[in-house]
């Protein structure tokens, strides 16, 4: 192994060599720089490899042939090697990235860059306090120099502000250093660590040193100068400043916190959490991309500082957690800054330019996912461990704050992503092949790290999950034509079903059928799309992968990972819709919020166990259990869009593409239902303050069922109507589930199946109509029955089924429902459900009537039947519905038997095709028999009586009317149930919507207000700095005394 000192020597030596070159010879100078950086990276990497493979041991490097503390010594261990690799590699890539500007400014600039990287490596390596100070100053000066790379004149001011502030910092640091020396008689960090100081007057020195290093981390709110640099500096340098400098400074701070001893950790925790929350909050109101990135890096670094504060508790996990966050932040942030260099405009929506280049979009998505800690990236594992640590050590407030801040961060980033994807670009990309390559390298590094962290995790590696790999396969395959990809996707789903269905209990099996086979059927509709259809299949398959894994998840971690996966996938899917940007955002926010609730719930439940099996939920007891129940239920209810948490659904489902709506409505919602199934199955009745939580669920379900239906009846937009109806249907399912009896669960299953079938069918039908009529407003349609008979048939069957009118399968659901409520002692919630039934009838009738019946509109006289590929699955569904209605036993019987084993009872008796309960009978075949016979007879009668009826033209019925300004207001289909609205309209008041809007507005308001703090005046920033120091000082003194 070459000595790590060569990293420093190479940097310096090269810098000096540059001086020997002729002033005009930039090219060779550049090559020297690159060579030096490459050498440094190589040494660092070789150490990483060596240490990982165990070929070498961590080594202490002496200088001047004397032992520490008498001479400066360096230390090279695993963490050092890894971080130096990050630093040097970022340096190398950034050097390539900034090639043009480095050439422009000549060898001096390159020398400065080299020294910067050298100093950062030194900062990481050194074990000497004063040496630390020297390196910090080197970094400061080099930074001030490289800021000048930017063509932006404002960068000058930023650099100067930075110098001012770092002057103050270095004053504090020096005073601290010398007094530490006086106290310990040594400048060697390990020496100081050997005699940790209590938090007393003499330890002021320690305080000064620590606070100075914390200040180097740009803590909120004393960080205005840093933001200015991020905003104005050359993106290539900002990447360094954020990724490399941030990382190194963090490591230095960590070193000293370790040395200072556990008494000081709360300082790190406090500053960390404040920074994490504050920075993310303020980022909300940023419209300038690089400044936003700046805020985000500040936040992330704060997060790591928080982790440093948890060091004592995390113990062995510390490196894993902190490293996970630091490294994914470094990679992602560098990548994003590099990307920002390719985008011309500086507003967030200017990033739309990326859409010209799919690879870059993928990179962008990757980086965002890395920052928000989504699987399979390192921060995901880190977050998991961290939250569990919080829960295990009972720091619940911390846990809450952390998750909320993380949610805000996700909000910031995904808002940005949405804009970038949906808005149309004003200016095109400044395209350099080299720059793109660099960005893509960063992206690949991200995935690679994800794999590494997964491999290190004791929870199992997400990246090795077969479904996910299959889904990711679609990224490179995106160049294939859509049809081919579609076929592959369908095949994938079916195959996965075939290979994995044996080892599932009937309950999971049903969900598996819905999700995999159902998914395959829905993909039929996607054959309709010609061309490539870039960026559709990868997300879709990620979603399905998530669901596949969810069904087979046995540990909390697997469950959560799968959950996150299907959330991300569906987010990208929903985002594809035309007007879907805001809705996709609210979807991802609610989903992540729900996911965090799950995370918190699992963490509470695990209480520090490494592996927590889902079935152990049933062992939970004591005061903890009900809270776990509440959190998990919250998470799942967000997915099933229970009343109050539902506001994301209508927009998301309505705006999605024709073949996406059924996926996210018919299939995705079932994931939430499945979660609830697992939850109540494992935890059963839980009492909180004497209230049985399942009773709350019953009420919630009933409420959703009713209000959802009423709202649906008031929609003018067909897809929104269906969306609201989903809320209602899921309400039924939750209701049944929460009844906690055999029939209730059977009811839930029945609804799961039915809802999948008819909701997919209806969404496809309405989607098909939209494809042809290019509108979703029902009053603009009408009389389409003759033009689109097949769509009509499926809608007809769909609504008969859904409204529960015999003979179709919806009736079965109702029948089970009645039998279920007969055997429970809850009475009042039924009232709501009873109301929901007929109301459902209202909106369904409106749907079919105003679209297909009535007078055809002039502009729609020529429309053709919906495309074949959209009709085909509908017809399959129709067939299934009829079959299922006649022979419900073919699915239900097994489920029923299985649920019976859970409850140890068997209320339903399946004699042949007849179902008997304790209360009544359901004889589907007989019902069919009677109805068909009667129907046919009567029809025959009618035909006999008037076989020769004349088909009349539309305008045989003429009536006159003025045409007012808004014609639709006089159309019967407009506000179809006007009187109903008069009577029941009060239910329409958007309580929950206004609540959530209030929350967001409050957040944005605070952000908008408090960011005025950053006046842009360097002096004020210095004042902030001192203010911060004093505040922390007083607080910590107060805390310690």
């Amino acid at each position: 192994m070459v000595s790590p000192l060569l990293i420093l020597a190479a940097g310096l030596g090269a810098a000096f060599i540059l001086g020997l070159l002729r002033g005009t010879s930039e090219r060779p100078a550049f090559y020297v720089t690159i060579a030096a950086l490459a050498a440094m990276s190589f040494v660092a990497l070789s150490w990483v490899v060596g240490l990982v493979l165990g070929q070498t041991q961590p080594v202490e490097i002496l200088t001047a042939g004397a032992r520490p503390p008498f001479a400066i010594n360096l230390f090279m261990g695993g963490a050092e090697a890894a971080l130096i690799s990050v630093v040097t590699l970022t340096g190398l890539l950034s050097a390539f990235y900034m090639r043009a500007d480095l050439m422009r400014l000549g060898r001096r600039a390159m020398a400065v860059l080299l020294v910067l990287i050298m100093a950062l490596s030194g900062l990481i390596l050194t074990r000497d306090l004063f040496n630390l100070f020297v390196f910090i100053e080197l970094i400061v000066i080099a930074t001030a120099g490289l800021v000048l790379l930017s063509k932006d004149t404002r960068a000058l001011a930023a650099g100067f502000k930075y110098l001012i502030v770092s002057q103050v910092i270095s004053i504090l640091l020096l005073v601290g250093v010398i007094f530490t020396y006086h106290a310990h008689g040594s400048l060697n960090i390990d020496d100081i660590a050997a005699t940790p100081m209590a938090f007393t007057g003499a330890s002021l020195a320690t305080f000064l040193v620590l606070i100075a290093l914390v200040l180097e981390l740009k803590p909120f709110p004393a960080n205005g100068w840093a933001l200015d640099i991020y905003e104005s500096a050359h993106p290539g340098f900002s990447a360094l400043f954020s990724a490399a400098s941030g990382t190194a400074a963090l490591f230095a701070a960590d070193k000293l916190f370790t040395a200072a001893g556990p008494a000081w950790l709360p300082l790190a925790t406090g500053v960390g959490i404040v920074t994490f929350v504050g920075a993310n909050l303020l980022a909300l109101s940023q419209s300038h991309d690089r400044r936003l990135l700046g805020y985000s890096s500040v936040g992330q670094i704060g997060l790591v500082l928080l982790v440093v504060g948890q060091k004592a508790l995390l113990g062995a996990d510390f490196a894993y957690v902190a490293g996970g966050i630091v490294i994914s932040h470094a990679v992602a942030k560098a990548g994003l800054f590099w990307l920002s260099g390719m985008v011309k405009g500086r507003t967030l929506s200017d990033w739309a330019a990326l859409c010209q280049n799919p690879a870059l979009v993928v990179a962008f998505a990757t980086f965002i996912a890395m920052l928000t800690g989504l699987p399979p990236f390192p921060a995901f594992y880190a977050k998991w461990v961290l939250v569990h640590e919080f829960a295990a050590t009972g720091q619940l407030p911390m846990l809450a704050i952390f998750l909320i801040a993380a949610l805000i961060e996700a909000g910031v980033l995904f808002r940005w992503f949405g804009k970038a994807i949906k808005h149309d670009a004003q200016r095109s990309l400044t395209y350099h092949l080299s720059r793109e390559t660099i960005v893509l390298i960063a992206m690949l590094a991200g995935w690679g790290l994800g794999w590494v962290w997964g491999a290190l995790s004791d929870q199992g590696n997400v990246m090795t999950a077969l479904p996910l790999l299959f889904a990711l396969l679609f990224l490179p395959m995106d160049i294939l034509p859509a049809r081919v990809k579609n076929a592959i996707a369908m095949a994938g789903l079916v195959v996965w079903f075939v290979i994995s269905y044996q080892d599932l209990d009937p309950l999971r099996l049903v969900f598996m059928i819905i999700m995999m086979l159902g998914g395959a059927v829905l993909f039929l509709a996607s054959f309709h799309h010609q061309g490539r259809r870039m960026g559709f299949y990868a997300p879709a398959m990620i979603m399905y992968a998530g669901m596949a894994l969810l069904l087979e998840a046995f540990t909390a971690f697997q469950f959560f990972a799968a959950w996150e996966m299907l959330t991300i996938g569906s987010y990208f899917l929903i985002l594809r819709g035309k007007e879907s940007e805001p809705h996709a955002l609210s979807y991802i926010l609610f989903s992540l919020g729900g996911a965090f609730a799950l995370l918190a719930g699992f963490a509470l439940a695990a209480q520090g166990q490494r592996i927590f099996w889902i079935e152990d939920l049933s062992e939970l007891t004591g005061t903890l259990a009900p809270w776990v129940f509440v959190l998990l239920a919250l998470g799942f209810l967000t997915k099933t869009a229970a009343m109050g948490l539902h506001i994301w659904l209508p927009g998301a489902h309505a705006e999605a593409e024709t073949d996406v709506s059924p996926m996210v409505s018919g299939i995705l919602l079932k994931a939430g239902l499945f979660g609830l199934f697992v939850l109540v199955m494992e935890m059963g009745h839980q009492r909180l303050y004497g209230v049985d939580l399942t009773h709350l669920l019953v009420w919630l379900g009933a409420l959703s069922a009713f209000i959802g239906a009423v709202l649906a009846a008031f929609q003018e937009d067909a897809k929104r109507l269906l969306a609201y109806s989903s809320i209602s249907q899921m309400g039924y399912a939750v209701f049944g589930l929460a009844l906690m009896n055999h029939l209730g669960w059977l009811l839930a299953m029945m609804f799961a199946i039915n809802h999948f079938v008819y909701k997919s069918m209806l969404f496809l039908a309405v989607g098909g109509v939209k494809e042809r009529t290019h509108t979703r407003l029902m009053y603009q349609m009408g009389g389409l029955i003759t033009l689109m008979p097949l769509s009509f048939v499926s809608v007809l069957v769909g609504i008969i089924a859904m409204s529960g009118v015999p003979p179709l399968s919806g009736f079965g659901g109702r029948w089970i429902f009645y039998n279920a409520i007969m055997s429970t002692d809850l009475r009042l919630p039924m009232v709501l459900v009873f109301m929901a039934g007929p109301v459902g009838f209202l909106y369904l009738f409106r749907l079919i009537h105003t679209i297909f019946l009535g007078q055809p509109k002039d502009n729609l006289r020529q429309v053709k039947e919906a495309p074949f590929w959209i009709i085909l699955p509908q017809m399959l569904f129709v067939a299934f519905l009829i079959a299922f209605a006649a022979l419900p036993g073919m699915i239900l019987q097994r489920v029923d038997r299985y649920i019976g084993t859970l409850f140890g009872d068997q209320p339903l008796v399946w004699s042949g095709r007849i179902v008997n309960s304790a209360y009544g009978t359901w004889n589907p075949v007989a019902i069919w028999g009677v109805i068909i016979v009667v129907f046919v007879t009567v029809l025959g009668l009618l035909i006999w009586m008037n076989h020769n009826a004349q088909r009349v033209k539309q305008f045989n019925i003429v009536f006159s009317a003025e045409r007012p300004f808004k014609p639709q207001t006089t159309h019967f289909a407009w506000n179809f149930f006007a009187p109903y609205r008069k009577a029941m309209g009060f239910l329409e008041t958007p309580v929950s919507t206004s609540f959530w809007t209030g929350v967001t507005n409050a957040l944005h308001g605070t952000a908008e207000f408090s960011r005025k703090l950053y006046t842009g005046n360097g002096q004020t920033y210095a004042v902030h700095l001192l203010l911060f120091v004093i505040a922390v000082y007083l607080i910590s003194m107060g805390a310690s005394s």
């Binding site: 009389g783 029955i785 003759t786 409204s803 529960g804 009118v805 015999p806 009736f811 109702r814 029948w815 409520i821 009475r827 009042l828 039924m830 009232v831 009873f834 039934g837 007929p838 009838f841 209202l842 009738f845 409106r846 009537h849 019946l853 009535g854 007078q855 004699s911 007849i914 209360y919 009544g920 009978t921 359901w922 004889n923 075949v925 007989a926 019902i927 028999g929 009677v930 109805i931 129907f935 009567v938 029809l939 009618l942 009586m945 008037n946 020769n948 009826a949 004349q950 088909r951 009349v952 045989n956 019925i957 159309h971 019967f972 149930f977 006007a978 009187p979 109903y980 008069k982 009577a983």
Partner: protein
């Protein structure tokens, strides 16, 4: 054929017989009722055989127009709904002949099958393309959703009381003395259900859906000739079939055709009497009415049982 236990072909004959009796009974009764209504209004009124005349006339009519498939099927749905409803409930308690096909399902089947005809009718009227029929439909639906609520609650209370959903068993439970009738054993449920009954008989004050005055060409008259014939048949059949359910649930059912005739007539008269003395509600008014009266009583009934 396992789906049809103790099925013999003769049952079809029995069923047809029931159907025949009920239709004729309905013909006469509705005529009588109209006559009474006329007399209350100081008019002479129609002869009791008027319905037969109308029916024959409509069948005989030669003008035949169709607006399309759904329009054509509308009346079929309608009548199927009526007949089916009758077929799914036992008409005469204890008589082997008139159990119809009640083994196909229970109370729930009956309750939900009520919507079958309504739906078909509404769709048919819808395709007729006439906005007024659409308006009529929307009013009707809006109203029926609330009107059905008290019934649902009442029935729930009742089935809790008897711990069964099987109509025959419910009737059986009411045999013996008149005081075993649900109306006495569970008055609240009965009242709630009767509110719904009155509300869904398509008579004033709840007949805004038909609205003969405001909507001169509403659903019924958009249909003509043989369509109207079917619908008329249904209009005499359906109320009776529905009344039969109420009779079975709350008034001890009927053990003989005579009892049947009397009970159905009395029940039917309730809505008539209320109808002739009350002006019509607007839809939102009737909805509020059901919310104000029907709902609380219903809730009370399921709470006390």
């Amino acid at each position: 054929m396992t789906a049809f236990p103790n099925f013999e072909w003769v049952q079809i004959a029995y069923a047809l017989l029931t159907l025949f009796i009920v239709i004729n009974y309905g013909m006469v009764m509705t005529a009588v009722v109209r006559k009474i209504g006329a007399r209350v209004g100081g008019r002479y009124g129609i002869p009791v055989w008027q319905n037969y005349v109308d029916l024959l006339k409509n069948i005989a009519l030669r003008s035949k127009i169709s607006h399309g498939v759904m329009y054509y099927l509308g009346p079929v749905f309608r009548l199927t709904g009526g007949v089916g409803l009758l077929m799914f409930v036992p008409t005469i308690y204890g008589s082997e002949w008139h159990q119809n096909f009640s083994y196909a399902g229970d109370l729930i089947l009956a309750l939900y099958f009520v919507f079958f005809g309504t739906l078909g009718m509404a769709l048919g009227a819808g395709e007729s393309g006439h906005p007024h029929s659409a308006i009529g439909v929307s009013r009707g639906l809006a109203q029926v959703t609330m009107a059905e609520l008290p019934l649902a609650l009442g029935v729930f209370a009742l089935s809790l009381q008897y711990q069964t959903l099987d109509i025959t068993e419910i009737v059986a439970a009411q045999q013996g003395s008149i005081f075993n009738w649900t109306v006495f054993t569970n008055p609240l449920a009965t009242v709630a259900a009767m509110v719904a009954f009155v509300g869904t008989m398509m008579r004033s004050p709840f007949d805004v859906a038909m609205a003969p005055q405001e909507i001169p060409i509403g659903p019924p008259t958009e249909y003509h000739s043989s369509y109207l014939a079917l619908m008329q048949t249904n209009r005499v059949l359906f109320p009776v079939a529905k009344t039969v359910i109420y009779m079975n649930l709350f008034f001890g059912g009927a053990t003989s055709w005579a009892e049947f005739a009397i009970k159905v007539f009395c029940l039917y008269m309730i809505s008539v009497v209320i109808g002739v003395v009350h002006p019509r509600f607007r839809v939102e008014q009737s909805i509020r009415f059901f919310l104000k009266w029907g709902l609380p009583i219903g809730v009370l009934s399921i709470l006390v049982v």
